[in-house]
Symmetry: C2
Subunit: 505 residues, 2 copies
């Protein structure tokens, strides 16, 4: 027992050190996106590579295997430490399964491909980047084939595991097929309902960036973000980063469009609140981290989509927006704002998609990336397969590659297996919101007062404080009484888009 | 030879890695001063401690001693590599000489003392921090006694060596004594000359911070700073940080006082230009670093004090300031600005001191810190010794400890042996300026056009591009034909303050 404790204590210290290095890297990553002048790019790349190498080196040193074996050799009561030890083993298994030269080759190939992709996207010409993407996919396949056996997973599942542990294609595929069937019925109905109404009146800007920023700060604070331990800045691509006691969220301001920054900041605030709410007793340990990217996305979407685009919250927000920006009052009627900011549309661009069609974009990518990894789809055939998929799912054909298979950075940057997290997160958000509504009386009444505290309180207890002690499904089961159940998401969409309260009234 | 080359190549790779970790730490240090919300302080401390530990660990691994011995075992032609190898040895000697538990004890004691000092300074009560400072000094003494024998230096010199290699108290003491004698004559004369003139007319503000900032940016750019590889931000304590291709300078804006930010930014720009001009072929190697803190200070002061407070530059700047800020033209006459911004005064605060009395502040600290390290001065007697020293040097008595021995962070933060660098730098700046004027025809004419390019060009070749290949004195000898010669600084002060052109005219 003393040996086991000593071995586990050594692992705790080592994983804390690794996490601290990654915190440093996270802050430097934030700086690179928000502050760094262009001249710093090359040396910043070196700094991040050295930090990644140091963290990886600490994880794969031979003594780690000895300590893991030592700690595992003695039975441990089920609980945080036992879960932590399993996660340490998991991280170690992933790290040692990948040969160092493969990791290096991936870093180089991903960086080269990403740079080339920017050019190809500008030119809307997939052929420019196809050879680079082939190389990236070849190395992704090699990584998947090295990770798979070590983890006891199929190759594509081993890649998914890197983003959301414990969820594989076999579980996701039927959920997505079910949604596809739902969408085939629901989307035309939602469109018909929309078409039957007068079109929403646009909010007439401009909305000065400084005023938007002050408003975003106020709303993020109202949602629970404490700016003595957080920053809000501007960046080209909004994100949430930093560390739990120093969260950095970003957005961009379009002076013609109020919704983008406002809803974007609330989305990032959801991510930030999750990080802030993680169990401090297990800080810098694997078990103290967020429970994966799908879980993370559930927390951004429950704040943005479930809470802040609800009738209740928009009813509170709308007059305050009018007070802030002035102009004619009619466009600021809550019903009009709701129709503006909850508009269903078949579009080409994932990041601009409404919550009903968004999963179609994810389903397409999920199927295509599986085929790419399984070598069933040659990289050169991607544009054609993309167009075919969009026609099948949304009945539209991308006008060019930029609005097709070149729109997202993920694959070109080596991110394969991430996309499903967006939709798993959206579904989990609906499921968690339904459970929170059942558990917390007055939750909607509070939203109607612009008060997210009851929701946040429930999330803190049932999601944030759990860290990654439980897997994605176990977390949902503990919080909602069942594993992932796409029915809640469909019920949410039905209530919001198919039984329109404005029509019912 | 193959072995030697291989050993040296391994050292090159290792020192590059160490330097890259330190770059990461430098950026995080900048962030902590400029961006970080207060909540991030504790975890930032951990991040910096881990990075420092990793860099130190890479320096003291046993294989480094083997590689150093291997590389040194074969004769190397004199040049950059030979100098680099000597500097690697020097860094290694310093790192292994300090026991790990002493380094840790220092980190803890310094941090605790610094926190306590902030309180003591607010309360203007030295007694509050005296026990903490005793502990810091005890550990400084232990470090000095561990470093001294390893480096073949007396204890205090071993501390100085950490900031400016190759310069010890025996060299500094007579230079400072000579200056003290000069000052005893020069200061009353300068004061009499000042008193004989009408007092300068103050510039009437306010000077809006945004306008000051734009002006500072423009002047820093004119001085040679390229903002595609640099940032200018605000912080409580102005500094220059970052890395050579991503320099971060900071300042603070006082809307009632134009000189503070403007001259402060030019000062930090001098530091930044030095970093930017370091030899890229030796980036991340000891020989590619700046040649020490005195050399660094010479570069900030040659820009700020020598160039930008010269009659020539102020003559160019003055009407432009008036155009920017408006108001009555008379105060913006170049002669008035010169009298305002080059005013000699016996004050208590080092950082507010003019260039003539500044060395007195340094001389006092140099003598006191030597006595503290040599145990000749008990920490409890510091306030008395300080007051006595100020009376002897400047004829004034500090009204309280806050304006006495509590004013600077250095000692309380464990920085002993740094102070001499300020005045060695001021003297070197005068010596380099005199040499540049001799070498570059039209240098002053350019300054009178607001053009620092001829000066910067000369500094780039004769100072910046040399990295730390040469020691402080050898660098000066190569650039100016002689080692440090305080006569140039005295000549500069004489010309500027004792043969006033306004009076001569």
């Amino acid at each position: 027992m003393a040996d086991q404790s000593a071995a586990y204590a050594r692992l705790l210290a080592r994983f804390a050190r690794i996490a601290t290095i990654r915190e440093a890297a996270a802050m430097l990553g934030w700086d690179a996106s928000v502050m760094m002048p262009p001249g710093g790019a090359a040396s910043r790349g070196d700094q991040l590579a050295v930090l990644a190498g140091l963290a990886h080196g600490l994880l794969v040193e031979p003594v780690v295997a000895d300590n893991l074996a030592g700690a595992e050799s003695v039975a441990m009561a089920e609980g945080w430490d036992a879960a932590n030890l399993r996660l340490m083993r998991h991280a170690h298994t992933r790290a040692v399964a990948l040969p160092g030269d493969l990791v290096e080759a991936q870093a180089r190939a991903n960086a080269a491909c990403e740079m080339c992709w920017r050019e190809a996207r500008r030119a809307a010409d997939f052929a420019l980047v196809a050879p680079r993407l082939s190389e990236v996919m070849k190395l992704q396949r090699a990584a998947a084939e090295a990770l798979g056996p070590a983890l006891g997973l199929a190759p594509y599942d081993a890649l998914m595991d890197g983003f959301q542990r414990g969820i594989g294609a076999a579980e996701v595929a039927p959920v997505f097929a079910d949604y596809e069937a739902f969408l085939r019925e629901a989307l035309p109905r939602a469109e018909a309902i929309q078409a039957s109404r007068p079109p929403p009146r646009p909010l007439s800007g401009p909305f000065p960036a400084a005023v938007q920023e002050a408003l975003c700060r106020e709303l993020a604070g109202r949602a629970g973000l404490d700016f003595s331990a957080a920053r809000l800045d501007r960046s080209l691509h909004p994100f949430s980063g930093g560390t739990p006691c120093d969260v950095r969220i970003t957005t961009r301001y379009d002076e013609a469009d109020l919704a983008q920054a406002l809803m974007g900041v609330l989305h990032e605030t959801g991510h930030a609140l999750y990080e802030i709410g993680l169990p401090t007793a297990h800080a810098r340990q694997p078990v103290g981290e967020a429970a994966g990217m799908a879980a993370h996305e559930s927390q951004s979407l429950i704040i943005e989509m479930q809470a802040c685009r609800s009738d209740q919250f928009l009813g509170w927000l709308a007059p305050r927006l009018h007070a802030r920006f002035g102009g004619a009052p009619e466009p600021y009627a809550p019903e009009n704002i709701a129709r503006l900011w909850r508009r269903v549309a078949r579009g080409h661009i994932r990041v601009d998609a409404d919550e009903m069609t968004y999963p179609a974009h994810v389903i397409l990518r999920f199927r295509l990336e599986q085929a790419l990894i399984d070598d069933a789809l040659p990289v050169g055939d991607l544009p054609g397969a993309w167009a075919e998929g969009m026609r099948a799912l949304l009945g539209i054909t991308p006008p060019d590659d930029a609005r097709g298979c070149l729109q997202d950075i993920h694959w070109y940057d080596g991110g394969v297996g991430y996309f499903p997290s967006y939709t798993l997160g959206a579904m989990a958000a609906a499921q968690l919101m339904a459970a929170a509504r059942r558990a917390v009386s007055g939750l909607d009444a509070a939203l109607a007062e612009g008060d997210l505290a009851p929701l946040l309180g429930w999330l803190r207890t049932h999601v944030h404080a759990e860290g990654s002690r439980l897997g994605f499904n176990a977390l949902l089961r503990a919080a909602t009484g069942k594993p992932l159940d796409p029915a809640d998401f469909q019920a949410h969409l039905t209530a919001r888009y198919l039984i329109a309260p404005e029509l019912a009234a």
